[in-house]
Symmetry: C2
Subunit: 389 residues, 2 copies
């Protein structure tokens, strides 16, 4: 019961969301197509270039590089595929470990598994919802050794090859801190920027700090290609390798079929890239709309006790992909009731992901103490975040 209003907290939350989103069924994040989508798709059909070759693939990659400031962008079939290839290019091999947050979507961990490597779970922190840099530094100092320029997990004996933070709900991690850890411990930094297209740390786009970064254009993301993703890198050699591995690794010849490596056929079709080109043109507008939505929610939730709207940290510009409420610890028990009340009323809300280390395929993976992730994962609620609201 909220003393001031006489309403319960779930009722307060419902009322606050309704005051922003209006009446009716409201989804969590819905794409909108208000630009050249129509025109570009028609161009695809008319040209008959709908598949793995076509001008929209090249254009989309060029536009993505320009928007993010990465030297190279390589489009792929989805964000999971982008993660898989980025990890391989960062040198992740069978038997290695990769540091990832416990609080992330399962794809981050699955990509590690595709490399026959093992995820190693890292705690988060409350300013960014991302990796807890201080705790991670202490943890690595305590539990790893440097052997021949490689970071060895002393307990497992395995090489810790990569560090893959994820910019949660669009909020950038502390990239200064993560870069320092990457350098100090000889661990490649690969950014999972699936959720953070349009998010910046100290004015530089997420996904462009590490050796490689990845994006996702799934239907629920800020812009969509139906399904799609991209690999970002400033290293021209890695970009060439990314293109090679994400196709069938065919060597160049007019008619011969010679493949010099095991490729993954992760190419984004031209049809999907056409949608992407049109969507990317509208991205600046969508980012403004999402920031405005944050401000409206901020006002609506300002006076509700026991719950806070998550705001970008210092040095961070978030795309506010998913607007996020955080319950006070004392109110954590109300989470499921809030989810029930809102979803029953036609407003789609959802909790954070279950921590990956609790999922059956990953229960026995190594992990640092996950104190914050454990507490936090039970207190987060995502609320409707479409730019069209």
């Amino acid at each position: 019961m909220n003393i001031k209003s006489g309403n319960t907290l779930p009722e307060e939350v419902l009322k606050a969301i309704r005051s922003v989103v209006g009446a009716g069924q409201i989804s969590l994040h819905e794409p909108s197509f208000e630009g050249n989508e129509w025109k570009y798709l028609k161009e695809c059909l008319d040209s008959s270039y709908v598949s793995s070759v076509g001008k929209f693939v090249d254009q989309f990659e060029k536009d993505l590089a320009e928007f993010t400031g990465a030297k190279h962008a390589i489009s792929v079939v989805n964000g999971t595929a982008a993660l898989h290839i980025a990890l391989r290019l960062a040198g992740v091999k069978a038997g290695d470990e990769v540091l990832i947050p416990a609080l992330t979507f399962v794809a981050t961990a699955n990509a590690v598994s595709y490399c026959n490597a093992t995820p190693h779970f890292i705690d988060s922190e409350e300013n960014t919802l991302g990796m807890n840099v201080n705790e991670l530094q202490n943890y690595l100092s305590r539990s790893t050794s440097q052997v021949s320029g490689q970071c060895i997990n002393r307990k497992s004996g395995r090489v810790i090859r990569a560090l893959m933070p994820m910019h949660t709900f669009g909020h950038p991690n502390d990239l200064d801190g993560l870069l320092a850890i990457s350098n100090d411990f000889n661990i490649a930094l690969v950014e999972d920027a699936a959720e953070s297209l349009g998010s910046y740390f100290k004015g530089k786009h997420t996904g462009t700090f590490g050796m490689l970064g990845t994006l996702s254009f799934n239907g629920n993301k800020t812009i969509t290609t139906g399904g799609g993703g991209a690999i970002l890198t400033n290293d021209s050699e890695l970009a060439k390798k990314a293109k090679h591995l994400t196709t069938t690794a065919k060597t160049s010849h007019v008619w011969e079929f010679r493949h010099d490596q095991i490729g993954f056929n992760y190419r984004m079709p031209n049809l999907n890239a056409a949608l992407g080109c049109a969507q990317l043109e509208q991205l600046p507008g969508k980012l403004v709309a999402k920031r405005n939505l944050f401000k409206k929610y901020e006002e609506a939730f300002a006076k509700i006790e026991g719950i806070n709207l998550f705001a970008e940290a210092i040095n961070c510009q978030s795309n506010y992909w998913l607007q996020t409420l955080i319950l006070d610890k004392s109110q954590a028990h109300q989470r499921d009731l809030i989810l029930e009340v809102t979803n029953k009323d036609g407003i789609m809300t959802r909790p954070a992901w279950e921590l990956i280390n609790s999922l059956p395929p990953y229960v026995s993976c190594p992990s640092m103490d996950l104190q914050f992730s454990n507490s936090f994962s039970k207190r987060l609620i995502n609320i409707p975040s479409s730019p069209s609201i």
Copy 2:
């Protein structure tokens, strides 16, 4: 020099192809969009369902099942992904071997590698361009043992878990023979029907004979979804597992994120399925057109000596995906000249794939004697095959 005409063989071939395809630049296989493509894509945009959920995905899967006669069809992001999941569902594990033809596209072998298994190369035969059933039977009898109901390669000590024929250029393998081998040797039959949508063996659609089958809808295939593929099976349990593995293996809940396995996020987007629905409606017409094209080529090549147009075998109805010329052994040396003369003239032709066992990632894999594949791979030429010709 062809004695009758006074022309060289390459000139004769060029003339024959031109007599069928007419003037201008002619590609090998071009998609055409003459039905509801436009309407369905617009429906996607208007509904905002472009991604992993939507009515076209369900419709496309239903239509595919109906067309092929398979009980279940599960759409995925491409044919390679379909192969990967089909092999996993057939029980292929790390350290296993999978029998595949040496004469196939590299994706067949790559899918085996994704399972951390080893391709084991099988020879082809000249009636079907597919697996040589008699030689395979002899080879397995000589070189394998049955241990606890599993087929063991005596030389490597590994389990031969699956048998994956590929229906080359649309021509069905001898499926009676392959089914018998599958039963006799306890090896799961998985059909790579990437090239054979609309091809039948004894009146039954390819890809529906084995435990699982796969299709491809790449831009060069008989119908296209931009990029896409499907898994076919008559086993409802396997179909359920295929759907689970090709998504993120999420267990069902309104808002919770619980994933009980490592999923692969291979979902076909609704946008691509929309294209597929429209294309599938036109498939019967395209098949008729491709058969007519075969007849025209048959006539054009009837009197040319030293080269033959490949025709469907007894009991087989081919979709004639790629029309195929086979040079007599005595004329094999002319292949590259024919490729040069035709490509230089603007007619896209190409040789068969290099045998997979000769590609760098696969040179050390086990193999039976590849006498026929070796001879054949140097004598095949694919010529323009679009249904719109």
